[in-house]
């Protein structure tokens, strides 16, 4: 007998999400047979940028998200620099990578400890960590107490990683240092030394606390090495340019389909948007999104989310650390709940170990900014990677003002609703087959959803993948 279980709010993620899962017995085991994820907040950033000075896009779009504001600053700046076009001083390229790298690490630590861990362990026995579903607890006693201590230590590590980023960025979150033409902060030797010192502290935390804890939890909940696989279809745009032309990337872009052994290059022309199950006007469904304005429509027959459904060659794709690390050949253990946590931790470690080399490239006192003039007419895209996955900003400038702005966010891919073919989004698919022992406390559902690290403020701000006849050359 199928039962619909609703979790609203899904807590411990960024933004507003509701999950409705249908639970029924399959081969005698109660499990999810269907899932619907609803982004329950509409922001409308795209239309709100129209008419503004394009050079302010990095400042404004960072406010799409306060956990991952840096990648939005980067993507906006990249789009503007493609629009001009212009090259930025080498110092600026390196500073952006350093700050973005720190932002990734901050986000990943926060995600495992503050957002995910309490699906597996009891927290401190007081609000906001009570009430808590007290079910399927396999980590208790001293082990549980140790992880609670690590939760508190992680808050310190998150604070310190934000400080590390702010050494150059001025402030976290929402750094004013990201501008078209480069970066505002001229680095000093003291700043380089401070960033390096923080890096060492954070590297210790990652190696001695975060990475071992991910493995510890996975060992106690081994079935989640298979659960939550989803489509097994991965996507990355690539990010962290390693040279002035942006040809070499620290994380390469690519596409890997279910069962694929090799990643294929990705092409932005293959990206489409679908709105059949989203609260937007159906009239835009078959138009090139970059040329149309999509109006919010609520209520709407069949729609259940403020997220649209980005699809690649018509297929849903997962994006994020697991996608990046797998496509880049750095992680090949599989696709599951724990693989996402492991890949995220491995990515944080990979970044922290790379930061010192980047620091060595900084030339204290030298230029960070080359004068940028907003073009009168231009169209360009800025593509990068955010902690949660592939991120793109598309911009059209007319008469020197923003005429059109759209953002493709990673969570829009991951948490998308069904598309025009009624094909579920990646998390909706990943939930199918998840056992639910107690429909009053469906913690198993939280474990799968949280493994994707959803960020809904990013996703619901009207994300439309751009569509263009030109290939995007990074």
């Amino acid at each position: 007998m199928p039962t619909v279980v609703t979790i609203d709010p899904v807590t411990r993620l960024e933004g507003h999400l509701r999950a409705d899962v249908t639970v029924d017995a399959v081969d005698g085991k109660q499990q999810v047979i269907e899932a619907r994820l609803s982004g329950t907040s509409f922001r409308g950033f795209e239309t709100m940028l129209v008419g503004r000075d394009p050079s302010e896009a990095p400042h404004l779009t960072q406010r799409i998200c306060g956990v991952c504001s840096v990648p939005h600053g980067v993507a906006a700046a990249l789009a503007l620099e493609k629009a001009a076009p212009s090259t930025i001083p080498e110092n600026a390229r390196v500073l952006r990578n350093l700050v973005l790298g720190a932002n990734f690490i901050q986000s990943h630590i926060l995600h495992f400890y503050q957002l995910s861990l309490l699906d597996y362990v009891g927290g401190p026995g007081m609000p906001p960590w009570e009430p808590q579903w007290n079910t399927d607890r396999r980590i208790t006693g001293e082990d549980g107490a140790r992880l609670v201590d690590h939760y508190k230590a992680a808050l310190q590590a998150v604070r310190q990683t934000n400080e590390m980023a702010a050494v150059f960025a001025g402030r976290q979150p929402h750094s004013p240092a990201f501008v078209p033409g480069g970066f505002t902060n001229v680095p000093t030797m003291d700043q380089v030394a401070a960033f390096r010192k923080y890096g060492g502290i954070i590297a210790d935390f990652l190696r001695r606390v975060y990475v071992p804890d991910v493995d510890f939890v996975a060992a106690r909940y081994p079935e989640y090495n298979q659960l939550g696989r989803g489509y097994g279809s991965l996507l990355a745009f690539g990010g962290f340019p390693l040279d002035a032309a942006g040809k070499g990337l620290f994380f390469s872009g690519g596409r890997m389909t279910d069962g694929g052994k090799e990643s294929q290059p990705m092409s932005f022309e293959a990206v489409t948007e679908q709105v059949t199950h989203s609260w937007y006007d159906n009239g835009a469904a078959n138009r090139h999104p970059s040329n149309g304005a999509t109006a919010a429509v609520y209520p709407k027959e069949g729609a259940y989310s403020w997220l649209k459904a980005p699809r690649y060659e018509g297929q849903p794709c997962e994006t994020g650390p697991l996608a990046r690390m797998t496509i880049g050949g750095h992680y090949r253990k599989g696709i599951s709940v724990h693989d996402r946590h492991r890949a995220r931790a491995a990515e944080a470690l990979k970044i922290v170990e790379t930061l010192p080399g980047w620091l060595d490239e900084i030339k204290p006192g030298e230029a960070v900014y080359s004068r940028y003039a907003v073009p009168a007419e231009a169209e360009a895209a800025g593509l990068t990677e955010a902690p949660r996955g592939a991120l793109g900003h598309w911009l059209k400038i007319r008469q020197g003002k923003i005429a059109h702005y759209q953002v493709v966010t990673p969570t829009c891919w991951n948490a998308s609703p069904r598309d025009d073919q009624h094909t579920p989004g990646p998390i909706e698919k990943a939930l199918v087959g998840t056992p639910v022992a107690d429909p009053q406390q469906p913690v198993e559902v939280l474990r799968v959803v949280h493994s994707f690290d959803p960020c809904l403020a990013c996703a619901v701000h009207v994300c439309r993948p751009a569509n263009t006849a030109r290939a995007i050359v990074l």
Binding site: T11, R12, T47, R63, E163
Partner: protein, 311 residues
């Protein structure tokens, strides 16, 4: 002999090993010793980015509470926070529903489009509750309503431009003045140094924009800025010069950033080479520009709500 609660707890912590008290028992003890009359806290998020929450979590100070964890364990009984709450779904909605004697914190603006369904923070009894309704209902019973961040206080970036979700400030949405800890984001010190006195029942003096005077009031940023009078920057990327010509808000803005600095004093916006964008101001982000225009401010309308507190 009088002993402060703090000192007693310290003794307990030291003795806990021999008493066999584990972390859970200690936190229970602290909870029991807390002033039973002190209000709890409900923290809601509307249309925003969670940047204010991340900023709060960055809190670090030399005196108690020394960090965000300590605020949550010792100073504030935080009944609900969407990003931090361990529970989900009906379990947390029940906590919100039965809350009494609380301070309401709101982060993010209040969307009012589509009958308020542009933002639904939870379902109650199978019905999606619009954020507009949640804020109004909870503000009614709240001891105080404190806005965390410029979006909640004045509309901010969440209400800019076309504003298709029809986002309003909290005070516009509830029809009452609010305590406005503005900033995009606000400095963690501003959040904690306003919340903790409120929890202790102390009055907070507000300026004409509803902001705590002790934190935001009194001085032009220029008066404390180390680059004041140090030449004029003509371009971004120059180090250590006054950026008034680039549109810096220091002359008009009042925020204590030159003295508090940011992120445990590693840096701050102006020292990082950016003109101040005036993010604590009701007009942020302006209608046409973030930057201060020659001859005055940037005009009304950037932040949708007025959000003027009356102190």
């Amino acid at each position: 002999m009088r002993i402060s609660r703090r000192a007693f707890l310290r003794c307990c912590a030291l003795a806990s090993a021999s008493l066999g008290l584990g972390p859970k028992e200690l936190t229970d003890l602290e909870k029991a010793l807390a002033d039973p009359g002190a209000p709890s806290v409900l923290w809601l998020q509307g249309s925003g980015c969670s940047g204010c929450t991340i900023s709060f979590l960055n809190y670090i100070a030399p005196s108690e509470p020394v960090d965000a964890a300590e605020v949550l364990i010792r100073s504030a009984n935080l009944l609900y926070h969407p990003t931090l709450s361990a529970g989900a779904g009906e379990a947390v909605v029940a906590e919100v529903r039965k809350a009494s004697n609380y301070i309401l914190l709101v982060e993010g603006g209040v969307p009012t489009a589509f009958g308020g369904h542009a933002c639904a923070p939870w379902s109650d009894g199978g019905r999606e509750v619009p954020f507009l309704e949640a804020v109004r209902t909870l503000a009614e019973k709240a001891r105080q309503v404190m806005c965390v961040g410029t979006c909640a206080a004045y509309g901010g970036i969440s209400a800019m431009g076309a504003n298709p979700a029809a986002v309003k400030s909290v005070s516009e949405a509830i029809g009452k003045s609010t305590i406005n800890v503005s900033g995009c984001p606000p400095h963690p010190n501003w959040i904690v140094e306003t919340l903790v006195p409120l929890l202790q029942g102390k009055a907070v003096t507000l300026d004409g924009r509803g902001r705590p005077v002790s934190l935001y009031g009194g001085r032009r940023m220029c008066d404390d800025c180390p680059f004041h009078g140090r030449g004029e920057a003509r371009s971004l990327g120059e180090r250590g010069r006054c950026m008034e010509a680039l549109g810096c808000w220091g002359e008009l803005g009042s925020a204590p950033c030159p003295t508090t600095q940011w992120n445990n004093r590693v840096n701050w916006c102006i020292a990082a080479g950016s003109p101040c964008l005036g993010c604590t101001d009701p007009t942020f982000p302006g209608t046409t520009s973030l930057l201060r225009q020659r001859g005055g401010g940037r005009g009304p309308g950037g932040g949708r709500g007025r959000g003027r507190g009356r102190g």
